[in-house]
């Protein structure tokens, strides 16, 4: 518990740093010396605070979604980005953008949730049918499935001249986050709360269907609840800020090394580490070419793939 408090403090420090980075002159001093109607305070309220909150909310929710996927697929290397979930969500957004160009963000999110759920369920079905469930086979299948769905999306986007719009969902970027455009992410926080409340069920499901049934739980129901949370989290994040590759994979794996997979114990750490990772990567992306920005998807892609390789190579025989 004291360690968790330390973790919360670290996130708060990162959040404060995140608030005061940017082109516009917002410093604690300028905030005090100007009136609330002046530019510094307005920038803080309209742009900076929403951005920092969006980072924390999406980072923690995506990381928890990764944990749930790993529990339910019973594989260390699965996350929404390697299970076809993200690609399905993007497909859903494209679909509703074509059918209803002026659709509000909420409608886009709901469409993305539905397609993400279908895509992830399809992935789980394929897994059941693979005779040899080698550890690395599972994410490879997910990446292939995602590739197929993404190519369909690309085809339609290309034909309808929507490729540029598509890019905003494919690559995580928080530079456009403003008040009024990120609030959907609070749904992610609610879903994380539900996941934590049902944590024992997910840990039990991670032991397998037989263990789950033996303990009197309905495996299908736990699976449905978990996949619904994963689909909704993915949809809200993709709609609001785009995807952050590897986040849901790396954070739960790092936490598992330290405190294990018992979701009740792991979720608080995953929330903190997910938020921390995203805050740090966003800060790097904002200062490395100041005053320009590198999208967080790119920063995390570089750091994330290096960490992913490390996780792959340090794999113990027992995981196989």
């Amino acid at each position: 518990m004291p360690k968790l408090i330390f973790g919360v403090l670290a996130i708060l420090v990162l959040a404060v740093i995140s608030l005061f980075i940017g082109v516009s002159d917002v410093t604690p001093m300028s905030l005090f010396s100007s009136s609330p109607e002046d530019r510094p305070m307005q920038v803080l309220l309209i742009s900076r605070i929403p951005r920092t909150l969006a980072l924390i909310l999406s980072g923690s929710a995506l990381a928890v979604a990764g944990l749930l996927m790993q529990m339910l697929a019973r594989n260390r290397f699965v996350e929404p980005g390697t299970a076809g979930t993200v690609e399905s969500a993007i497909f859903g957004i494209l679909l509703i953008t074509i059918l209803w160009p002026a659709s509000p963000l909420l409608a886009k999110m709901l469409a993305a949730t539905v397609t993400a759920l279908i895509g992830t369920a399809l992935f789980m079905q394929i897994l059941r049918r693979i005779p040899l469930r080698s550890t690395l086979m599972v994410p490879l299948v997910g990446i292939m499935l995602g590739g197929v769905i993404a190519s369909v999306t690309d085809f339609f986007a290309y034909r309808l001249d929507l490729l540029q719009t598509l890019g905003t969902w494919q690559l995580g970027d928080f530079s456009a986050v403003l008040r009024g455009r990120y609030e959907l992410l609070w749904i992610g926080a609610l879903l994380v709360g539900i996941a934590w409340y049902a944590a024992d069920r997910f840990t039990v499901a991670g032991l397998g269907q037989d263990f789950t049934t033996n303990l009197g739980l309905n495996y299908r129901r736990v699976l449905t609840l978990g996949l619904s949370i994963v689909a909704m989290v993915t949809a809200t994040v993709v709609v609001s800020v785009g995807t952050i590759p590897f986040l849901g994979l790396i954070v739960p794996n790092l936490v598992a090394m330290a405190v294990g997979d018992n979701a009740r114990r792991a979720i608080p750490w995953i929330v903190l580490l997910g938020a921390g990772f995203v805050l740090i990567c966003d800060i790097i992306g904002r200062v490395i070419r100041f005053p320009y920005e590198i999208p967080i998807g790119t920063v995390f892609g570089v750091i994330g793939s290096a960490l992913f390789l490390y996780l792959l190579l340090r794999r113990r025989p027992a995981d196989a």
């Binding site: 594989n75 260390r76 032991l207 397998g208 049934t213 033996n214 303990l215 009197g216 739980l217 018992n262």
Partner: protein, 252 residues
């Protein structure tokens, strides 16, 4: 009592369990023996509602296992299958604690904690309690799974080849524990066993299966006879009495 009535399970055209009607008495240790592919594990899985039946009914103390709510059944009957591949990184203590889930739904009481400590002690896991499952050997993991099932504290305990991966000392310890659970705590223990000498030494009742059917059943001495065993396993098996126990010899 566990009662199966005309229970069958088919995979395509193959009947793995073929019209089995069987009463497993309450109390005591019952062992199910038989050659590979006889349908022992499949039967056990159907009795414990892990696998749907193609036909027939199973009742446990009169409760139909397919109709009784799963969480009600989980307080009556526990099952551990063979070959449990658990990749989740959880500690032995956490795993055993999940055995209490049907009773506590995740909010452990002092009574729950007592049961967990007891199960850990019974299986000699005290020194390993805070280790992660993926850091254990196959035999240690097997003991942790059995400890979880014991913590579940059900009247009926079904174990599919619980001696898998265990060395002689722990295999014997496991069987003694099952005997103790039956005689001191009044539990009904049903085991699928491959080693007929373990079955002979520790069981009250033995059921032999072959080709999906019950080939023979009875108390230990009725079953551990050369003509019965040779028929079931289709090989020459001699039985000797050593120290008042019937021991089968089938080497060579």
């Amino acid at each position: 009592m566990i009662r199966t009535q005309a229970v069958s399970r088919a995979y395509g055209d193959a009947l793995v369990v073929d019209n089995v009607t069987l009463d497993i008495p309450a109390g005591g240790v019952t062992s199910i023996i038989g050659p590979n592919g006889a349908g022992k594990s499949t039967l056990l899985s159907m009795v414990s509602r892990l696998l749907d039946m193609s036909a027939g009914t199973v009742t446990v103390d009169g409760l139909d296992v397919t109709r009784t709510p799963s969480d009600v059944l989980a307080r009556r009957l526990s099952i551990l299958r063979q070959d449990n591949h658990v990749s989740a990184r959880i500690t032995v203590r956490d795993l055993v604690a999940f055995g209490r889930y049907p009773h506590s739904k995740g909010r452990l009481t002092a009574q729950d904690r007592h049961q967990i400590d007891q199960a850990i002690a019974y299986l000699d896991l005290g020194a390993l309690a805070n280790r992660f499952l993926d850091e254990l050997s196959g035999g240690q993991r097997q003991r942790a799974f059995v400890a979880m099932v014991l913590a579940q504290d059900t009247d009926y305990v079904l174990l599919d080849e619980p001696l898998n991966n265990l060395d002689m000392k722990h295999a014997m310890g496991m069987m003694k524990l099952m005997r103790q659970a039956a005689s001191e705590l009044g539990k009904t223990v049903v085991l699928v066993l491959h080693d007929i000498n373990f079955a002979s030494w520790y069981s009250d009742y033995i059921v032999a299966m072959k080709h999906g059917k019950v080939a023979a059943q009875g108390a230990g001495p009725e079953m551990i006879r050369p003509e019965v065993l040779s028929e079931i396993y289709e090989m020459d098996i001699k039985v000797h009495e050593i120290g008042g126990q019937l021991i089968s010899v089938y080497y060579g």
